[in-house]
Symmetry: C2
Subunit: 215 residues, 2 copies
DNA sequence: GTTGACACAGAACAAATGTTCGATTATAAT
DNA sequence: ATTATAATCGAACATTTGTTCTGTGTCAAC
C-alpha cells in the first residue's frame, strides 16, 4: 500500500513536469487524478500535500494550477524550480565590422537558459550569435551563442566584447589595463595581443557564457 | 483610444511573460485586469482574443490560466513558445578516470535549455559538468557543461565522449574510423591524436553542445 | 480479536475563473 | 448633426477548481 503510494507520488512528479512543459501551465488536481486513475480529488490533494512536505513541489494555496516542481541542480545553495529559467534578450548576430546593437535590448526576442547556469548577478544580460570566423582568436566559432553582461568596464583578464574605434572592429578578447593603453589578449595563446589607446577601446559587454553547438 | 488599446495589449504580453516566469503558471483574466487597472473581465477577454487573432498568444478555451505567449526565435521554421525549454537529464560530473554513468539517466536532476538551441533530434540527451583539466585537449575546460546524445557510433569527425578500455580513461575527441583502428583527434590542433583498436574504444555519447561559463 | 494508522473514496461546498450579454461612452466617418 | 464602429463596463452565469468533511476498507501492531 505504502509502496504504491510512493510510486504514485513519483508518477505525479513526472506528470507535473511533463504536463507543464507540454502545455505552458501546470495541471489541476483533477487532471493529475485523471492521469493516475485516481478518482478522488481528496487523495490527489493528500499526495500533493505529502510531496509539498517533502520539499518536492511548491503549492500556492487555493488558486488554480498553483503547483510547481522544485528541482535542485548541482549547486546545493541555488535551488531552482524545474523550468525556472532566465529570459535573456537575444540581439541577433555579432559580426566583426560593427559595434553591438545594444539599443535592441528591449526587443522581443529572448532566449531561455536554466537559471542555475548563471551566477548571482542576472542584470543586463544579452545574447548574440557569432557570425563568421572573426572571433576564432577568442576560440569562439561561427554559430556559437555568446551571452554578455552590459558593462563598460571589466576586471583585468576578463573577456569582453570590445569595439576598436581605430580598426572599426568588434572583437572578443581578454582585457588588461596597462597605463594609458589596453592590451587585448586573444584566448588562443598562439596569437599576438593587440595594444590600443584606452580611449579607442569601447567595452560593450563582458562575456559570461559561451554556448557551442556541435551539430 | 485605439493607441491605448494597442499599448494595453503590449503591456498584457509583457505581463504574461513576466508573470509566467516568476510564478511557474500563467495569470488569470482577472489577474491581468488587476495589473493593467482594467476592472472589466470582458475587456481583458476582448484584448486576449485580439492577441490570439494576431498570433501573439495561444489560448486553451474555458480552462483556468489557459494562456501562453507565442514567441518565435531566430529560426523561422522552429517556432517555440517563450519559455519552451528542453529538459535534459543531468548526470553530475564527467571525469577522466571513469566511464560515464548513463544508467543515471532516469535520475531526477535535469537542466533546462531553450529548445531552439537544439536541432530536430531531442532524443537521448544528457548533460554533465567537466571536472578537472583532463578534457583541455578537447578545448573543454574545467567547469564546462557538456551535452551529449546517447549513441554508440558517430560519424567521422564528430566529437564524442569515448571510454578507452586500455587506458581506463574517458576523453572527448573527434572520432575517425580507420580500418580496424580508431583515430581520436584532439580538437586542439597542437596535440597528437590517439590511435586505438576499435574494440577498445567505447563511444558513450556524441557531444552536441558545450556551455562555458566565464565567471 | 481489537485497535490505530493509513490509504482511499465520494460528496459537498466555497472560491476561482472564463464567457456571454446588454448597455454606455468615445471616436471616426459620412 | 447623424450614424456606425470600436472600446469599455458591469453584471450574471456556467464551469472549473481546490479544500474540507465524513465514511470505508486494509493492514500492522498489540
Amino acid at each position: 500500500m505504502k509502496q504504491q503510494s510512493q510510486e504514485r507520488q513519483e508518477r505525479i512528479l513526472q506528470f507535473l513536469g511533463a504536463f507543464t512543459r507540454e502545455n505552458g501551465y501546470p495541471p489541476t488536481v483533477r487532471e493529475i487524478g485523471r492521469e493516475l486513475g485516481i478518482e478522488s480529488t481528496s487523495l490527489v490533494s493528500f499526495y500533493l500535500t505529502q510531496l509539498e512536505k517533502q520539499g518536492r513541489i511548491r503549492r500556492d494555496p487555493a488558486i488554480s494550477r498553483g503547483i510547481r516542481l522544485v528541482s535542485p541542480w548541482t549547486l546545493p545553495e541555488a535551488h531552482t524550480a524545474q523550468g525556472e529559467v532566465v529570459s535573456i534578450p537575444y540581439l541577433g548576430t555579432i559580426v566583426a565590422g560593427a559595434p553591438l546593437n545594444v539599443e535592441a535590448l528591449s526587443g522581443e526576442e529572448t532566449i531561455e537558459i536554466n537559471r542555475a547556469l548563471f551566477g548571482r548577478n542576472l542584470d543586463a544580460l544579452f545574447a548574440l550569435t557569432v557570425k563568421g570566423d572573426s572571433m576564432i582568436d577568442a576560440l569562439i566559432h561561427d554559430g556559437d551563442l555568446v551571452i554578455l553582461r552590459q558593462q563598460e568596464r571589466v576586471e583585468n583578464g576578463e573577456m569582453a566584447a570590445v569595439w576598436l574605434v581605430g580598426r572599426e572592429e568588434t572583437t572578443l578578447k581578454r582585457v588588461y589595463y596597462e597605463g594609458r593603453q589596453i592590451r587585448l589578449q586573444p584566448a588562443n595563446p598562439t596569437m599576438e595581443p593587440i595594444y590600443a589607446p584606452a580611449d579607442e577601446v569601447h567595452i560593450q559587454g563582458k562575456v559570461v557564457m559561451v554556448v557551442r553547438r556541435l551539430s
